[in-house]
């Protein structure tokens, strides 16, 4: 009798474990337990089914009589769960933007140095072509994680996903500097952006911080930097640019192009904000390194607004594991898309209204 009790307990434990495995595997495929629901008495099931049908009939009738009731609900957007504004500044940021009356046509200097009004809007310039540049490729793998995950593979995959997303969104011609795993010097990338008449240039990279086991997100636009770490990163990313000093002189002349700088900064800021806030939802240990200026050749050479996004960090093991899942890469592409669209549609009343509705 006494030996029976432990055996019974063991059997119970074993059954619980087997059931746990079954439920765990059902969760993987997003199914509910059929076997377990069989335990519910059949009369209860029948009653539930009866009430469900009655409810459907009532709702159907109501819907038929009040079609306008349903049309009031906004169409569900894919960005429904995206955070596009920091909670504290939600709704206030736009109000804080000064109205256009602050720019006086007679004050040309003030007009050019006014930090808040994008010149592209003033001149009614539109973005038609977006060029996505997956960092590295071919013999240049970029950085690599401890498990062997290569920067070039992740950047290319996210770039393809971003392209599909932007294409689906609508009117943009979305190009990529390369679609295969091929070696492409930086000057060739710049040339491709020019040939493709790109209006926007987005270069995707992954960070590597050997001394710190953290994950950071940061976005760069072209400009001088005195930060040693940033200069080191630029040096690494600029390898193989094949530009001479004379080329630099000519290009540096164009740095004065306020429009490019202003727009690049806005684009960087928009991408960084959405990417960081949403990445933080999944991983509380991600750090916001913000937007920064850095002398990346690829950003310098392109005449149009250009940013370089370090979308994640391969030196962080947990993040490297995550980057090997399609869902995580798809999410990063999704956040990049939202950041780009926020930048492109800033001030568009219909977009802002939709965004506020879906964020609620």
């Amino acid at each position: 009798m006494f030996t029976m009790i432990p055996k019974k307990r063991e059997l119970k434990m074993r059954n619980a474990i087997l059931r746990g495995i079954y439920e765990d595997n059902l969760r993987i495929i997003g199914k509910h337990s059929n076997a377990l629901s069989d335990k519910a008495p059949s009369f209860l099931k029948k009653m539930f089914l009866f009430f469900f049908i009655v409810l459907l009939a009532v709702l159907g009738h109501w819907n038929y009589q009040n079609l306008s009731l349903f049309s009031e609900f906004p169409e569900k957007q894919i960005t429904a769960s995206l955070i596009t504004q920091e909670p504290s500044s939600l709704g206030t940021e736009l109000q804080q933007l000064p109205a256009e009356k602050s720019v006086s046509p007679s004050d040309y200097k003030a007009f050019l140095s006014g930090p808040d009004i994008p010149l592209s809007r003033v001149f009614g310039l539109e973005v038609k072509t977006i060029m996505i540049d997956p960092g590295h490729g071919g013999s240049d793998s970029g950085t690599a994680g401890k498990m062997g995950t290569k920067e070039k593979d992740i950047a290319l995959d996210i770039a393809k996903r971003l392209r599909e997303r932007l294409k689906k969104y609508g009117n943009y011609n979305v190009l990529m500097t390369h679609e295969q795993d091929s070696t492409l010097p930086l000057n060739k990338r710049v040339e491709l952006a020019r040939l493709g008449r790109a209006d926007l240039f987005i270069s995707l990279h992954l960070n590597y911080l050997p001394s710190k086991p953290i994950n950071i997100i940061e976005t760069y636009y072209f400009g001088p930097s005195s930060d040693a770490k940033t200069l080191k990163l630029a040096e690494r990313e600029n390898i193989g640019s094949q530009y001479g000093l004379s080329d630099f002189k000519e290009i540096i002349m164009k740095i004065g192009d306020k429009l490019k700088l202003q727009e690049s900064k806005e684009l960087a800021s928009s991408i960084q904000k959405v990417l960081f806030l949403n990445s933080k939802k999944h991983n509380g240990n991600v750090y916001n390194s913000g937007i920064k200026r850095a002398p990346f050749v690829v950003l310098l050479g392109v005449d149009v607004p250009a940013v370089l996004v370090e979308v994640s960090c391969l030196s962080n093991r947990e993040e490297e594991i995550e980057l090997n899942t399609e869902s995580h890469r798809e999410n990063i592409a999704r956040y990049l898309q939202a950041g780009i669209l926020d930048y492109l549609n800033k001030g568009e009343k219909s977009y802002e209204a939709k965004r506020h509705t879906t964020a609620r």
Binding site: I21, L26, I28, I29, M147, I321
Partner: protein, 342 residues
């Protein structure tokens, strides 16, 4: 009733599969037990296809013909790289090949339990299910150390440390299905020993030519920790002539290099439980995986962990099949109603 069970046994082949970072095995209800090295290779071009004569090669055969193949070790670092490399295809091929090795009869349905490294279970569950869906009628995925524990009836108050090639997986059993917190993976395992040994040997004998494959063979043949009697000598060509090399110290250093991380993780995991359970778990530590065969490793860990109180470390009898045998036991014990068609 018994007759019905027999009929079911005949119409269904139950299989336990252990997808390891280095070796994969299958144990089936028709008493078949097979294993392969977890390598998959596809001919690089049509000439290679003519040379190797097969569209896909596995294990040692793939390794032997590696120059003609695109070689893939899909779970090398404990996870599958989804959609980037050929890892997903390789997993699919390994599962297909293992099931073929179990020789099911054409009319038999396959009900399989697949054990995978703990990190794979965390991030690639769906990918594993997808990979196996063509070849099995119903499938469950579990973590490898859990399958070992179940097979050995270690359902409560036990810690399984599965020291494989790419990863060392830890799994604490406390009477329920282990949660993610009960399982941990570190990357210091067999491959790490190979890397260390390679660097020690090339440092000591700069004129000798080693390769990773040779180093792995030395490890598998001579590995030990603490001390063993006698010398360890191997013959390695120097300028084309075979020369005897003493590698005993290097083997010991390389093998012991994984132990600090294992000890630290073990104490860290056990410390999360209340003291009463800590004592029980410490007295029930089981080593599994290929590296549990390193001579003296159990005693070393037991001595090191004694600092934190008495403990008992044992080994699984057959590390190669402990995972697949455990997965088969799970498959056989699983009630019929839990087997959902894929």
């Amino acid at each position: 009733m018994k007759q019905k069970d027999t009929q079911q046994q005949d119409s269904i082949l139950f299989a336990g599969i252990d997808l390891g970072t280095s070796r994969s095995s299958i144990s089936a209800s028709n008493l078949t037990r097979e294993w392969i090295e977890s390598y998959v290779g596809w001919p690089k071009d049509f000439i290679s296809l003519q040379v190797v004569g097969k569209p896909v090669l596995f294990g040692s055969e793939a390794l032997k013909n590696r120059l003609s193949l695109d070689l893939c070790r899909p779970l090398e670092h404990g996870v599958i790289k989804e959609g980037i490399e050929k890892s997903e295809d390789a997993v699919k091929e390994i599962i297909k090949h293992l099931i073929e090795l179990a020789k099911p009869s054409p009319e038999q349905k396959i009900h399989a339990v697949v054990g995978v490294p703990a990190d794979t279970l965390k991030v690639n569950k769906l990918a594993i299910r997808k990979a196996a869906s063509e070849f099995a009628h119903s499938l469950m995925v579990v973590s490898e150390p859990f399958a070992v524990a179940y097979g050995m009836n270690l359902l409560n108050n036990a810690l399984v440390i599965d020291i494989g090639a790419g990863t060392t997986d830890f799994c604490i059993m406390h009477g329920t299905i282990p949660s993610e917190e009960d399982q941990k993976t570190i990357l210091t395992a067999g491959d790490y020993i190979d890397e260390q040994l390679y660097s020690y040997l090339t440092e000591k004998y700069p004129n000798s030519r080693f390769n990773k494959n040779m180093v792995r063979q030395f490890k598998e043949k001579y590995s030990f920790v603490r001390d063993v009697s006698g010398e360890i000598h191997v013959e390695i060509p120097v300028d084309g002539k075979p020369v005897i090399h003493d590698i005993k110290n290097e083997i010991k250093r390389a093998c012991e290099s994984i132990l600090p991380a294992i000890i630290e993780t073990t104490t860290e995991m056990i410390a999360r439980f209340d003291p009463e359970f800590q004592i029980k778990i410490k007295n029930n530590i089981v080593l599994a995986g290929g590296c549990s065969l390193i001579r003296g490793i159990g005693e070393y860990l037991q001595n090191a962990l004694k600092e934190y109180g008495p403990c008992n470390v044992t080994h699984v009898e057959n590390p190669l099949f402990a995972g697949s045998d455990g997965a088969l036991k799970l498959a056989l014990d699983m009630p019929v109603k839990y087997w959902e068609p894929l």
